[in-house]
Amino acid sequence: MTDNTDKLATLLSQVTSRETSPEFHTRLMKKIHQAESLATLGTTLGAVYLEPKKTSEPRMAQSGEALFAGDRILTRKTGKTYILFKDGTQLWLNQESTLVIGDTPRQHQLPLGELLAFVTRAKTRKDRFILKTPSALVEVLGTEFDIAITTDQSSLLTVLRGRVQFQNDKGSLRLKSKYQSTAKPSQKPSRPQKVKTLEKIQWTQDLALQAAKEENNTLPETLTQPERFNNTFSPGKTLLILAFTGILGYLLGYLYGMWQ
């Protein structure tokens, strides 16, 4: 009997193992990369490059690619893309821009170009979103803003929604929605000026259109309904205000008559 169990043991250890299906490893690693990543690259238009931290060699980026801390996204002329972070934050990159992904989904650097940010609301101040540019630091809890770096390294900030803390080593200010300020190197941010925000996000149109074509359901409302953020003359709104003022005037006149 003992001999037979030995024979059985030998026989069992001779059983060769099964192969996994050919695509199993690729599928597994894709899932792992997604789990370990901070963000995913959204739709790309034109020349968009990814410079992974570990290789530091730029290569053509692909939509859906996993992004990690320290990776750089570079857009060339006509190149545009957006990045979807795990916390729901979206950063839209204009052409000829560079974005360096930080260690967390809420700390990044924009050394070059222009970016439109849709930042999800932070629960605590510790989780605030921070963007570093060559001449300023942008801090938000959750808001929408556009920031462009000009050739003289100035940072031009436009707030679309919410409030933004705009600062550098010379000064700091809090910017309201539909206001704009510029921070030049070694100068404090300029006085806020009212702007037409819709014009500031025109550059996203072709990319948003392409993203919509790809049946992307994560597009921010600001891009799908831009008229909501247009602060130009609206006949309907003006008529409504006039009517309301008229009624109020009539009521006040009536009350004054009663009092007399």
């Binding site: 009997m1 043991a9 250890s13 199993f24 690693m29």
Partner: protein, 201 residues
């Protein structure tokens, strides 16, 4: 020049992975994915289900990487995660079977667990080997989960007794006695299929 490149240990790869090196993780995945799929397949008998289970195991590893003690061996740790996941799946299957009034726990059309290499390679021998393999697989399926686990880990996965004891959470002596008992049980089952000691190579 005849220099052999030293293979990095699992623990070393895990340390690199914890430091943020995803290539190290890929090395570990390549080292273990096939073994774990085979381990899962020994119980679940479905390639796609086994692969999904192993995918879950690696995802669990990613989620729990901070709980990994770098001073402890990696292999028993990942096998323990896999074993828990497989047992969860088996419980689910059993519940489903009870709910649907099914008494069999084995799949309807079981496939081969693998093959036994034929030393002679003659057509007649090959036929015998495949018949034997099918009976062996059927016999393993008839064993209770614990006995099957012992045989799979010890012989099919070729793990040392110390690691089997760590994975199953039982003393080494119990692994020895349990394995012997499981082999006896398997022999008895094979006898029922008409396979005696003389048929074994």
């Amino acid at each position: 020049m005849g220099f052999e490149k030293t293979e990095r240990t699992d623990e070393d790869l895990m340390k690199s992975y914890l430091a943020g090196d995803l290539d190290a993780f890929e090395h570990l995945a390549l080292r273990y994915e096939k073994l774990l799929v085979n381990y899962a397949y020994s119980f679940l008998r479905r390639q796609s289900v086994s692969e999904d289970i192993v995918q879950d195991v690696f995802m669990k590893l990613v989620e729990n990487k901070k709980n990994y003690d770098t001073n402890r061996p990696f292999r028993p740790w990942i096998y323990r995660i896999a074993r828990n996941r497989i047992y969860d799946e088996l419980r689910k299957i059993r519940r489903w079977n009870i709910f649907h009034f099914r008494t069999d726990t084995e799949p309807e059309a079981p496939q081969q667990i693998g093959e036994i290499p034929d030393p002679l390679g003659s057509p007649r021998e090959t036929l015998n080997q495949s018949e034997l393999c099918a009976s062996l697989q059927k016999g393993l399926g008839k064993l209770d989960t614990r006995s099957r686990d012992l045989l799979v880990l010890r012989y099919l996965q070729r793990l040392p007794v110390r690691e089997v004891s760590e994975i199953m959470g039982i003393p080494e002596g119990t692994v020895h006695s349990g394995t012997h008992r499981a082999l006896k049980l398997l022999e008895k089952i094979l006898n029922q299929y008409g396979i005696t000691g003389e048929d074994l190579p």
